[in-house]
């Protein structure tokens, strides 16, 4: 699978009158097969970095590459197409769409640009559901599921397109301890066995043991970058 590089990626936000630098130039190489945890205090820029890495936010400066492909300066439609092909997202809330069944929510990640999901995609969606302990929930409305189940559906939605990169923003913070552990075990396996780039933003200490690499960010700057073996 692919490697994600950021070169001096930075982002400013205007707070009405003046521009404020929320993320200072950040150079990172994120490897497949590794679960990277990004932690730091509230407002430190974790979500901003994750959004830049996921092409949902344009950097003020710097470049982003997926292997050799430069992803900076893409127009709206091209950026969407890259997200559709290569990036999976898991958010703090499951953000499933009410009115669509669980299966349709998952397949939407394939069909959002108008494609009809193939039989292979349908089979993949069912396999993912079974794999995530959600066998048989495909035809159900999301509101019938518990919070932990919904979050696992959203992981299935992120994985159905076989993304090179999986970006998760506090995926466990809305869940109870047990569901949170289950989600982390899945993410860990996705990184390790399926050789994807997985980044998990979290300030939940219970997540750290799953990390292969732990990044700490403060005031928009990476202040620590540690591999598993250096962790206490």
């Amino acid at each position: 699978m692919a490697t994600l590089h950021s070169e001096r990626l930075a982002r400013d936000f205007s707070d009405g009158t003046s521009l404020r630098r929320v993320l200072f130039p950040t150079t990172l190489t994120l490897h497949p097969g590794e679960l990277t945890v990004l932690s730091g205090p509230s407002g430190s820029g974790k979500t901003t970095l994750l959004s830049l890495l996921g092409l949902v936010l344009q950097p003020t400066e710097g470049r982003l590459r997926l292997d050799d492909r430069d992803l900076t300066d893409l127009d709206e439609a091209d950026a969407a197409t890259v997200r559709r092909q290569a990036f999976g997202f898991v958010f703090q809330q499951p953000m499933l769409i009410e009115g669509l069944s669980v299966r349709e929510n998952i397949l939407l990640a394939i069909g959002i640009q108008g494609e009809r999901p193939s039989a292979a995609h349908q089979a993949k969606a069912e396999a993912l559901l079974a794999d995530l302990g959600l066998a048989g929930t495909g035809p159900l409305q999301p509101r019938l599921l518990s919070g932990g189940m919904k979050q696992r559906v959203s992981i299935a939605r992120a994985l159905v397109k076989d993304p090179a990169v999986l970006l998760c923003d506090e995926p466990t913070s809305a869940l109870d301890a047990e569901s949170g552990q289950a989600v982390m075990r899945i993410l860990k396996r996705v990184a390790l066995e399926e050789r994807r780039v997985v980044v998990v933003v979290s300030h939940d200490a219970r997540v750290f043991p799953y990390a292969d690499r732990l990044l700490k960010i403060e005031n928009g700057q990476i202040v620590a970058d540690a591999r598993e073996r250096y962790l206490p």
């Binding site: 979500t47 994750l50 959004s51 996921g54 949902v56 936010l57 709206e76 439609a77 969407a80 197409t81 890259v82 997200r83 559709r84 092909q85 990036f87 997202f89 958010f91 703090q92 953000m95 769409i97 009410e98 009115g99 669509l100 349709e104 397949l107 939407l108 990640a109 394939i110 069909g111 959002i112 640009q113 108008g114 494609e115 009809r116 999901p117 939605r157 923003d169």
Partner: protein, 373 residues
């Protein structure tokens, strides 16, 4: 998949779907109903011309509509019948007088006299009796729709119009004039009732010989009758309608109520679509993050509008058909010429797409980055 998403959203967000549906149905039904009354009245205005079976109408010079012509000499007929282009030419007399109802009161009626045996310009459809009834010199017809107004005279009843004795010999169907109750009779009887001097008629209707070039024939008639107006039947029908529409304010008042109906529909559609999209803002941001381009979001919103409009058109037309069915046998004028429903459907579709532009704009503002907040 995008159309499926649109369908699911429409089915799930029942309140806003119902609201937008109401807007579409309001446009189809209200505008359709207005138009059917309008076209109904239009058909009344020119009913005699439209059912004359003639190719051309000859009236006095400078005539602007069927009901405002001076009398013309009946001897024009002699000049016409000899022409090779003319298969037949028939005189018509039109005028008004008072009809005495069985209870002794009076109603103004519009009399139309036509000549035996062809009765061109005469009655064309009967609820009781037939054309042969007019062979009797005293015979007249009244229309089914006017029977209550005229005190429900029975067949073969004797009464008076303009103090002349007449006998109800047939009952017509669909003979409704804009100027009021239409009564058909023989040329001689009508001449007597409306006191027209002999040798004068209101109009002459002409049928061309099959295979004749119509334009050439019309030009020929104009040469032969330089002191008369020669109309194509369609032109006279159009002129008569145009005259009433512009001179009675009917056009303006129907235009106004149609515009109001459209405005109400547009307001309902745009408000409900806007609220619905606003409520779905987060979902549109999710779709963007999943890889949806702006145009995919636009597709979903437009598909939602199309689905709702399609459903609304169906409901609206079913209701309209119900109303027309009910109104057909009543005194309510109603008539929808074939192209009108199609124009109405296409117009409604455009209007409702236009009304959803505001919602579309809002949906397109959903940014993928929103999903992280």
């Amino acid at each position: 998949m995008r159309s499926l998403v649109a369908l699911r959203l429409v089915l799930h967000d029942r309140a806003s779907t119902a609201g937008a549906l109401l807007g579409v149905v309001a446009i189809v039904f209200l505008v359709g109903q207005q138009l059917s009354v309008f076209f109904g009245l239009l058909s009344f205005m020119s009913v005699l011309v439209d059912h004359s079976g003639a190719d051309a109408w000859i009236m006095s010079r400078d005539t602007r509509n069927l009901d405002a012509g001076k009398l013309i000499p009946a001897r024009y007929l002699d000049r016409l019948v000899g022409l090779p282009e003319v298969e037949w030419a028939e005189p018509i007399l039109i005028g008004s007088n008072l009809f005495r109802t069985p209870d002794g009161s009076y109603e103004t009626v519009r009399l139309v006299g036509s000549r035996r045996p062809r009765y061109a310009g005469g009655p064309w459809r009967f609820a009781a009796g037939d054309q042969h009834a007019l062979l009797d010199l005293e015979a007249i017809t009244v229309d089914q729709i006017d029977l209550p107004k005229l005190g429900r005279p029975a067949m073969a009843d004797l009464t008076e119009i303009g103090d002349r004795r007449v006998r109800l010999a047939a009952i017509t169907q669909g003979a409704r004039g804009f100027q009021g109750t239409l009564v058909f009779g023989t040329l001689e009887k009508v001449r007597e009732i409306i006191r027209t001097p002999a040798g004068q008629v209101s109009a002459i209707v002409v049928r061309f010989t099959p295979g004749t070039d119509r334009e050439a024939a019309l030009a020929r008639l104009r040469v032969v009758l330089p002191y008369a107006s020669v109309f194509r039947t369609e032109d006279l029908s159009w002129l008569t309608r145009q005259y009433y529409v512009t001179n009675t304010g009917i056009g303006g008042s129907f235009g106004f109520s149609t515009v109001i109906a459209v405005v109400i529909g547009v307001v309902i559609i745009s408000l409900t679509m806007y609220t619905s999209v606003l409520g779905r803002n987060r979902d549109f941001a999710v779709m963007r993050a999943l890889g949806g381009r702006r145009r995919d979001i636009a597709f979903v919103v437009c598909a939602e509008t199309l689905i709702i409009t399609g459903l609304g058109l169906f409901l609206g037309f079913v209701m309209l058909a119900g109303l027309l069915h009910f109104a057909l046998d009543s005194a309510i004028p109603c008539y929808l010429p074939a192209p009108v429903p199609i124009v109405l459907a296409v117009g409604t579709l455009l209007v409702s797409l236009l009304a959803s532009l505001f919602a579309l704009r809002t949906a397109l503002q959903a940014e993928p980055a929103q999903v992280f907040h």
